[in-house]
């Protein structure tokens, strides 16, 4: 068993103008997918991230500086994430393909990242 992070990419603020019922309906779709995944013991975490309040911390002249993120000007942002459990990459992909995020909008996409663990690192070391 390994863990994978699903980063939910989308166009910024695409849902800002949606009527309330549509928003609720979308939320319900995510929630019921998450619940059924949880029931199978395959959901290990997840959060929705706010559209606003994004800040970036960069090093300038050796010091960390916080600035407002250019959220609205970006073409693509991460709107949320899930952490799932799957036996291998293939299963992780099957789960991701089932996530309502990609069906909701053609501009939405999911990035799958394997989560580092001892088993992961051994597999990498053995392969490389």
């Amino acid at each position: 068993m390994a863990q994978y992070m699903l980063l939910l990419h989308q166009v910024p603020n695409y849902d800002l103008d949606l009527p309330r019922e549509k928003m609720l309906e979308m939320t319900k779709r995510y929630m019921s997918w998450a619940e059924s995944l949880g029931a199978k013991g395959k959901l290990a975490g997840g959060e929705k991230l706010t559209a606003g309040g994004v800040r970036l911390v960069k090093v300038k002249d050796g010091k960390p500086v916080v600035s407002d993120g250019p959220y609205a000007e970006l073409k693509d942002v991460v709107g949320g994430y899930f952490v799932i459990e799957a036996k291998d990459q293939a299963e992780a992909e099957a789960i991701a393909k089932d996530c309502p995020h990609v069906a909701i909008s053609a501009a939405n996409w999911i990035e799958i990242r394997p989560i580092e663990s001892m088993a992961e690192m051994r597999a990498q070391a053995a392969a490389g």
Partner: protein, 129 residues
């Protein structure tokens, strides 16, 4: 109390060829910061992400398709993330500025508030095992 996500951005090659002394030093700094934050109840989650093997899923003609995503060729990658608890934006900023990920000038941290309204309505995602 609010929760924030710190996405740890870097160049794909940054950690690959670190000399052992530097790596030891960097790991120690992450570890000491993380432990201190955990003790204070401010660090509540996080994962290190494996390098490479990125896959993208998107809809094409009504079907979800998967493809390889860039890693080594990317201009920027996320190496991991932390989830922190802070009483407000100001405290979150302070924690983020202190994050050991900034040991390298080409690394940067994306600070994202977590949407608590949805979290309150949604069933808490159950941790597995």
């Amino acid at each position: 109390m609010a929760q924030y996500m710190l996405l740890l951005h870097q160049l794909p090659a940054t950690n690959a060829q670190l000399p052992p002394d530097t790596m030891t030093d960097v790991v120690r700094r992450y570890y000491e910061w993380a432990e201190a934050m955990r003790q204070k109840g401010k660090l509540v989650g996080g994962e290190k992400l494996a390098a490479g093997r990125v896959r993208h899923i998107r809809m094409r003609d009504g079907k979800p398709l998967s493809s390889d995503g860039p890693y080594a060729e990317a201009k920027d990658v996320v190496g991991g993330y932390f989830v922190i608890e802070a009483k407000d934006d100001a405290e979150a900023d302070a924690i983020a500025r202190d994050c050991p990920h900034l040991w390298n000038a080409t690394n940067w941290v994306e600070l994202r508030p977590i949407d608590l309204m949805t979290a309150a309505e949604a069933p808490r995602a159950k941790a597995v095992g």
